[in-house]
């Protein structure tokens, strides 16, 4: 049964009582919370996700609760815990859903060490995957949302998971995280871009999420073969766009910076990253508007898939 198949009140009760087990990348997390922010956020953003039958066999127990009785009443806060550990400081309660998303990213990046975990978005078309790797603020998520809107399958907005055994990219298909101006840019793409409630005043400014398309969620078990890596850089003044090839050695070095567990995995990470770069054509793209860069990527995909 999918999240959307539950009557809302029944879903909210389940969330508060036994918890809701959902796929989170390579793991199953059992999420529980009494907070309406979390219930509403999950019903909107995770509508197409399968609710696993057995809440007891999850990999992690996630809770979002006020840190204390006092904090339920005075300047209410929310605390994210994973199996009883709280990796972050509590946040104001209206940031509960973004906190869940950041927390789930943390769950994957600090435990999925049977994968090389890279900070980057992954999209797929015709069986070939594109990785967007960039520092925060480069416009990676906006470009990711634009490509999803253009029909690319979403594997992940935030975390590229490279299977250490076969080099394939493992889908996460969780919501796309949008910040500040990018929220309106993505909304303007059209009504199909399902952007949820905006949360103002977080550590990253205004934050909203875009719901992953049903088809991407339905194909969550299908890994993809990497074909392209793009280092995107949005800069308002950059017209016309500049797209240039990047040498493999340079790409390798740049990607080590974006890895979460490169040092931890040692030789295995080196092998996986070298294998990844070897399979890909690598480009750097500087652009001032989504409309400039989307056709370039579409053309790239079309040419090489022929």
């Amino acid at each position: 049964m999918r999240v959307a198949d539950f009557p809302p009140d029944q879903f909210d009760r389940k969330l508060a009582d036994s918890g809701v087990p959902l796929r989170c990348g390579p793991f199953v997390v059992c999420i529980s919370s009494r907070l309406p922010h979390i219930a509403a956020g999950l019903r909107f953003h995770y509508a197409d996700f399968e609710v696993h039958a057995d809440p007891e066999a999850s990999d992690f127990d996630i809770r979002l609760e006020p840190p204390s009785v006092l904090r339920r009443l005075v300047r209410p806060q929310v605390n994210f815990t994973c199996d009883g550990r709280a990796p972050f400081r509590p946040l104001p309660i209206d940031q509960a859903f973004p906190m869940l998303e950041w927390g789930l990213n943390w769950v994957i990046s600090s435990h999925a060490h049977d994968h090389l975990v890279v900070h980057g978005a992954v999209l797929e078309r015709n069986g070939r995957a594109l990785i967007l790797a960039a520092d925060p603020g480069s416009g990676k998520s906006t470009l990711c949302a634009g490509l999803v809107h253009a029909g690319w399958r979403l594997l992940s907005d935030e975390l590229t998971l490279v299977n250490l055994d076969n080099g394939r990219l493992v889908p996460v298909a969780r919501p796309i995280s949008l910040k500040n101006e990018s929220i309106d840019v993505v909304r303007a793409l059209g009504p199909e871009a399902a952007v949820g409630a905006v949360c103002y005043g977080t550590g990253k400014g205004a934050v909203a999420h875009m719901r992953p398309p049903s088809e991407s969620v339905a194909r969550i078990s299908e890994a993809a073969v990497p074909a392209w890596i793009i280092f995107p850089k949005f800069a308002r003044t950059q017209t016309p766009p500049v797209v240039e090839e990047v040498g493999h050695a340079h790409a390798f070095m740049e990607l080590t910076r974006h890895c979460f567990n490169y040092a931890l995995l040692g030789g295995a990470a080196f092998g996986a990253l070298a294998g990844l770069v070897d399979r890909c054509r690598v480009l750097r793209a500087r652009y001032g508007h989504l409309d400039q860069i989307l056709p370039v990527i579409e053309q790239l995909a079309a040419e090489e898939t022929r």
Binding site: E56, F60, G84, R85, H111, D114, L265, G266
Partner: protein
């Protein structure tokens, strides 16, 4: 078979064969508890030795294998750091003794198997402390940025310098000059600990040493039973493995008793024996325990102590918590401070922490 949730991890570590009957849900609980207690890798090692790995659910097996790979990487990293520390201090010509987890790793102790390490701890002679600090800074370990109060807290009252972090590798180094805070009123002879330290056999690690077996146990026991019980079950499991490893060696128990008494640390060593036996069925020498019982005397409120140890030596996981666990953890925190400093200093310290906040 007992199915007390809070004992699931300890019971499985003690007797891995019982896992044959676990359902996937129980495996999931076990993994979550082991992760919370930082004992996943050790659990993997125990199950492997008992030939029980194949009985694990696929999800559990995956987490166990990840933890195992991680522990191997940690081991290599600790060796690497230890070599750099040694080289940085080489020209001082003083002994460099590794402590706790890093010592288990460097000495190839069974306590290092599957374990992960959060930092490297070393002991140097007090007289060489300042010179050692300067050389370590030069080699890239920068003192953690702490405020003036914390600087004073460490330098005047504690048994170690503020933690140092390597500027490029991010590894954390704790430099000790003795094994318990001098303010506790217990003053073990640090020079004697260093004199009795054993050079590491591995030729690549020449120049480093670890405490003698009995001193290693005493230090581990002090760290746990005079401390705050953060990662309490992991530390007790370390002690269990050390007891099992050193126990059969000739003269170990006699030396452990005499060294504990000499250092004024009979009580924490006795606590370690009793609690390891309670949770891991550790083989403890009966005479040694009896001798320490006589010397340690009767503790105040024995019932409360037992209750406190039972609470704080559980994995820090919701499945293991009772309504009283929060209170117990707070009491353990208060107790560790009570044991560490005289009352006027304690009032001053906790007063400062209550008004200004801080990490200790």
């Amino acid at each position: 078979m007992s199915l007390i949730a809070s004992r699931l991890l300890a019971d499985t570590l003690t007797d891995p064969k019982r896992s044959a009957e676990y359902s996937p849900a129980r495996w999931s609980q076990l993994i979550k508890q082991a992760r919370a207690a930082d004992l996943l890798g050790q659990l993997r090692a125990r199950l492997a030795t008992a030939n029980r790995l194949d009985a694990a659910s696929p999800a559990a097996r995956r987490h166990l294998d990840i933890a195992w790979e991680l522990s191997l990487r940690h081991r290599a990293a600790v060796r690497w750091e230890a070599i750099h520390v040694r080289d940085a201090l080489a020209d001082l010509g003083v002994p460099v003794v590794l402590l706790k987890g890093s010592a288990y790793c460097i000495a190839d102790s069974p306590a290092a198997i599957g374990r992960v390490f959060n930092d490297v701890d070393i002991l140097v002679p007090r007289r060489a402390l300042d010179a050692a600090e300067v050389r370590l800074i030069r080699a890239g370990w920068l003192p953690a940025r702490v405020n003036d109060y914390d600087q004073r807290y460490y330098r005047n009252w504690m048994h170690e310098l503020p933690p140092m972090e390597h500027k490029s590798r991010g590894t954390v180094l704790d430099v000790h000059h003795t094994i318990v805070p001098p303010t506790s009123g217990i003053v073990p002879d640090a020079a004697s600990l260093i004199d009795h330290a054993r050079p590491v056999a591995d030729p690549e690690l020449k120049g480093l040493s670890v405490l003698a077996p009995e001193d290693m146990v005493i230090h581990s026991a002090c760290h746990l039973f005079l401390g705050e019980f953060h990662k309490g079950l992991r530390d007790l499991f370390d002690l269990h493995v050390l007891f099992e490893d050193f126990g059969p060696r000739s003269g170990f128990w006699e030396r452990l008793v005499s060294r504990s008494i000499e250092a004024g640390l009979a009580r924490p060593v006795l606590d370690a024996m009793q609690q390891a036996r309670r949770l891991f069925n550790t083989r403890i020498d009966v005479n040694a325990q009896a001798l320490l019982e006589v010397r340690a005397g009767h503790p105040a409120l024995p019932g409360v102590r037992e209750w406190l140890f039972d609470q704080v030596l559980r994995p820090d996981h919701p499945l293991c918590r009772s309504a009283a666990t929060g209170t117990a953890r707070w009491l353990a925190y208060a107790r560790s401070h009570w044991l560490r400093m005289p009352l006027p200093l304690l009032v001053y310290h906790l007063g400062y922490k209550a008004t200004k906040g801080g990490a200790h």
